[in-house]
Amino acid sequence: MALAVSFAVDRAKTLKALAVGWKRFRRVLPMLVVLVMLTALVLGFISQEMIIAALSGAGFQAKAVGAAMLGSVTAIPGFVAFPLAGILVEQGVSYTVIASFTTTLMMVGFVSFPLERSFLGARVALVRNMAGFVIALAVAFAVGLAFGEFAA
């Protein structure tokens, strides 16, 4: 729709916009292909049952750190991850562990590292991901406090 309006107002500028959009796309494409393939491999080898098995059970402080690592290496899109988190809640997995898992899923990505590196450089991409990991642990801790899980 925006495209149609833009065309009506200024044809030449719109064509330029399309060219720019295409150029930006071409610059992500190679690493995006790698990203899709890595994500697919992770989803292929790590099944939901494995994640549920790994995260349920006792000893949740250590599990929270383990969950953060698991969340970092795996990359699961939101529409799969949150229903999975719902299942984890039903299985009695603590919110602390779930927070640690879903937050690292969102913020830390081994599979998206090649893509990030192509834009940000290896060092900045690494720092950004490590900061995400630390923040995820902080979130998990706060969630644990909020749900009163540390008292037990």
């Binding site: 930006r24 491999l41 292929g44 949150f82 919110y95 913020m107 940000l120 749900f147």
Partner: protein
């Protein structure tokens, strides 16, 4: 650089060989890999064209002064808030956020705002948040926001102050 090129040059054909062999011999993880790759490609086919048309339109129409004023150096807290709003309303993942960062940088956005946008795009896209709340409840999401957003802003601010004096720039992606 060269090592990376060789690695990805082997990786892509290797992936296809792996998938083909998995189908041939009925290797379940491999078949599952192919299925999830296909579902991603389908999902992205819907997201990518409109997203990159919008990136192009943004670069063509939005004036440099506008970006500089609201997202540039000296935009202060308001720049970070704008980054949050932009990130919340964004579609797609980091593969859209990064090119958009490059475009914003070209128009004069500050590094702090860009990193805030990039971080926030990961944690608080609105559709994703609604989905999260429906499965994990409001309290969970609220705590996550309250803790992560200030820390993300702090990280972005620190990276800005460390990297800007060094003349750091976000690159355009793979050549």
């Amino acid at each position: 650089m060269n090592v990376g090129k060789v690695a990805s040059g082997l990786f892509v054909p290797g992936f296809f060989c792996f998938v083909a062999l998995s189908y041939r011999y009925g290797f379940t993880p491999g078949v599952r890999t192919a299925e999830s790759a296909l579902s991603f490609v389908k999902e992205m086919a819907g997201i990518l064209p409109p997203a990159f048309v919008l990136v192009g339109l943004f670069e063509a129409w939005v004036k440099r002064e506008t970006v500089e004023k609201h997202l540039g150096r000296g935009s202060g807290i308001r720049g970070y808030l704008w980054a949050l709003v932009l990130a919340g309303s964004m579609v797609g993942g980091i593969y859209v956020a990064l090119p958009l960062c490059y475009s914003l940088q070209k128009k004069g956005a500050s590094l702090g705002v860009l990193f805030m946008f990039l971080n926030a795009a990961a944690v608080c896209r609105i559709p994703m948040t609604l989905f999260e709340m429906s499965f994990l409840g409001f309290r969970f999401t609220a705590v996550r926001y309250l803790v992560s957003l200030p820390l993300l802003a702090l990280t972005a601010w620190l990276m800005d102050h460390y990297l800007t004096p060094k003349g750091y720039r976000i690159a355009e992606g793979t050549r």
